[in-house]
Symmetry: C2
């Protein structure tokens, strides 16, 4: 059921899906963003077999999302740390969390929500805005080839 | 390799992953957001077998992300249309596209980018902001149980 590789796709959404490889790997990134670094921590949080967890961690290292390093406490363990590329999945995780909060029910009482650490208030809903600041809905956006951009060759925004 | 259901998870990120079920299904949502409605359109865009596409479309209908309706042109075909729940995956797709644009290379010349229809300029990078407008990085956020929110019971933001 593994689909063909999308790594060469023109669409950046498809390329991201190809790099992540498996939805489930984003839960590792989520845990790493909240400070987990050790195999045993991920294992406890995710409740999966050592085999599968090992495979997923290695895939994330291969894709440059995690990197391994000696443990900060000087022990013999190695840690898994997010790279800059991995940390920049933050917006993806926030978007997934906000969608789940609004569209996927959970047992009352146990539901969690993302807040800012300082004030413990929910973060704002993500907004898609044009370069001039206008709020955009899906019908007001489109994908174009970079060569067809209006005006100059401004390609550093995505 | 199917992991345990995360539908009852306290974390809204995990619940979203459970609803979507398969990364690949997001490419159907992407195509629906840009106006595709017919089986044959999705088939052509995605290049997958009828069997697999049928299964994924049905799963998205079952999850309330797509709904079926008679074709707008009065023909015997049925169309697949996004529900409000489906359209609200927009931010997730934008986040995935922006990450791919910045972190997953593609053959030059074929790369696509999301623009606003009116001015054909790239949309702004998504920003995570606190309720008071401060820009937040991953280290400045955390997940808390809704009952532990500061102040009142403001739970309508996610």
């Amino acid at each position: 059921m593994r689909r063909k590789s999308l790594s060469g796709a023109a669409c950046p959404i498809a390329r991201t899906l190809d790099v992540i490889g498996d939805w489930w790997s984003l839960l590792i990134v989520r845990d790493a963003l909240r400070g987990m670094r050790r195999f045993s921590e991920f294992e406890k949080s995710l409740g999966v077999s050592k085999n599968i967890l090992t495979r997923r961690l290695h895939a994330l290292v291969r894709q440059g999302i995690l990197e391994t390093a000696p443990a900060a406490d000087g022990s013999a363990y190695r840690e898994y740390r997010l790279t800059a590329k991995g940390r920049s999945l933050f917006q993806v995780l926030v978007a997934l969390g906000q969608w789940g909060h609004e569209n996927a029910a959970a047992p009352a009482g146990s539901r969690m929500i993302m807040v800012d650490r300082e004030h413990r208030r929910p973060v704002r809903k993500l907004e898609v805005r044009a370069s001039d600041g206008r709020l955009l809905g899906p019908g007001e956006t489109m994908m174009v080839r970079i060569g067809e951009l209006a005006g100059a060759s401004n390609t550093n925004q995505g």
